[in-house]
Amino acid sequence: MSPIGPAARLHIDWTRCDGRGLCAELLPEALTRDDWGYPLAAPGRVRSGADKSNVPVTGAELAAAMDAVKLCPLLALRITRP
């Protein structure tokens, strides 16, 4: 993460996501998957206690993040402000 902070945040709507993991494939640096397949911020990306439903993404990742938003089959993702 750049010292000036994330370019944007990727919001996960947990009420829609079914954990198939397409987003984690598109954004391997930003997302891994938890025990059940749901997207999880990559280690070190969010501090404990920080907002885990809005994962910070860098400028270099922004295009891939927008792809994930478009391709998520359940419309569970959106870009929010940093």
Binding site: C17, D34, D35, W36, Y38, D51, K52
Partner: protein, 457 residues
């Protein structure tokens, strides 16, 4: 102030009304009794503002989160003013939330049955201040009759809709209430933090717990200065608490802000403090989403300010006002495991980490309580807790994690016993642990153990 001024209202509803603010009109108060006790709502001049008065009163929400009540009020007030960002569609919506999904809480039901007119007054005062058109009281099945009768017996409340809340833990979450009013499904929503700006059908929506509305009525009627004449500077006014568990009888008390927990418990007839009166092992403060504490030295306060200047003590936030007493000799880990099982069953099963993570946590906590698991159990609890917290549409996972963390902390000695395959609750001290040395540290973390002789409490 001390809890000595507390007013006991049995769940049957026989109020002793002397020092009570919320039950001053007596048990099952009709409108006539209400008016006799509180008077009619005064007419205020142009310069008077309810939101400013609420801010000055220091009233915090009584539903659990404990945020300053005026903030949501101000946000709804701002949102109702036309601006170029907001899509305007009707005036603000006001909701009195009496769903009380928390199984240990019955103070809201007690309030609705005994003092429904205060809740109605709070809604009407706010409706006037905000120009609100749609007013709702959302209450459980058992309170429908009392609230319905109260609405029917006064001439100014015909536009308040009474809605029956489903009996489910998360049905009282603010966004679940709004969802229910819109769709008939009481499920929390994603990104629901801005109900005051865009809630029911996109309208500014002000939702407060029913007890909060009753206090709003008092502030509207008597002003902030009067409101602050009870409680402490950090935690003004009074609050209702539901006292449950290993107590002589379960009851609702009205206690001043900043009350000493042990005083409140002794008002409820629980033996605490002093030699040989160790009837209490721990108290779960705030309910299933709350935290376990040892009562000694604890002060109930929603305020964050330094309480040391008023009295020495450690602040514990009252949350939804539940004080659940765990009697001496009971196993706190077993009690917690049962609660986590319940909470896992109450997941609305919308969000994966909650739907799968809570049952996984319940399973590990149950193994820990049974003393049958391996030594890695605590680490596994921590790992799962980190996985579920903050990853849901509502705070259900976070509340569950808070309960578990407080149990691991408060019952740390018991955790070590359990990992060694023993539970020392409910056993005669003479039969076990006579040497005063506990089991060797099973987690292998080298914590040299001087363990309590016999019963950990």
């Amino acid at each position: 102030m001390s809890a000595d001024t507390a007013v006991a209202v049995g769940s049957g509803g026989n109020a002793r009304t002397a020092a009570s603010r919320l039950f001053a009109a007596g048990a099952n108060a009709g409108h006539a009794a209400h008016l006799a006790a509180y008077g009619a709502m005064p007419h205020r001049g142009r310069g008077w503002s309810l939101v400013q008065e609420l801010e000055a009163s220091g009233l915090t929400g009584r539903g659990g989160a404990g945020f300053p009540a005026w903030r949501k009020f101000a946000a709804a007030d701002l949102a109702r003013r036309p601006n170029r960002y907001a899509r305007r569609s009707g005036g603000p919506v006001l909701i009195a939330n009496g769903a009380e999904g928390e199984p240990l809480s019955f103070k809201d039901a007690t309030l609705l049955r005994n003092a429904p007119h205060l809740v109605i007054d709070g809604l009407l005062a706010a409706a006037q201040a905000l120009g609100a058109g749609s007013l709702f009281i959302y209450a459980g099945a058992d309170e429908q009759a009392a609230v319905g009768a109260a609405l029917a017996e006064r001439g100014d409340a015909g536009h308040i809709a009474l809605v029956e809340a489903p009996d489910a833990f998360v049905a009282g979450q603010a966004s679940a209430v709004v969802n229910f009013l819109e769709t008939g499904r009481a499920l929390p929503r994603d990104l629901a933090g801005r109900l005051a700006e865009s809630g029911l059908k996109g309208r500014p929506t002000l939702i407060h717990n029913v007890e909060t509305w009753a206090h709003i009525a008092l502030v509207a009627c008597y002003g902030a200065g009067w409101y602050r004449s009870a409680g402490t500077a950090e935690d003004p006014g009074t609050r209702l608490v539901s006292v449950t568990g290993d107590v002589p009888s379960e009851l609702v008390l009205e206690v001043p802000g900043g009350s000493v927990l042990e005083d409140v418990l002794s008002s409820a007839g629980v033996r605490v403090g002093g030699v040989g009166s160790d009837a209490v092992s721990a108290v779960l403060v705030g309910g299933y989403h709350g935290r376990w504490v040892r009562p000694a030295g604890m002060v109930l306060s929603a305020g964050v300010g330094a309480v040391g200047s008023v009295r020495s003590g450690v602040i514990v936030r009252p949350g939804a006002g539940v004080l659940h007493v765990l009697g001496a000799g009971r196993c706190g880990l077993a009690a917690t495991a049962g609660m986590v099982q319940y909470l896992a069953g109450e997941s609305a099963r919308q969000c994966g980490p909650c739907m799968f993570g809570l049952p996984a946590l319940a399973d590990v906590m149950t193994r820990l309580a049974a003393g049958t698991g391996g030594t890695g159990l605590v680490r596994e609890v921590e790992r799962l807790a980190a996985l579920v917290s903050g990853r849901g549409a509502c705070h259900h996972p976070d509340g569950t994690v808070q309960l578990i963390h407080s149990a691991l902390e408060t019952f740390a000695d018991d955790v070590r016993w359990h990992l060694a395959g023993q539970c020392n609750a409910d056993q005669d001290p003479a039969v076990q642990g006579v040497s005063g040395q506990g089991p060797a540290d099973p987690a292998g973390q080298g914590v040299a153990g001087q363990y309590p002789a016999g019963v950990a409490q």
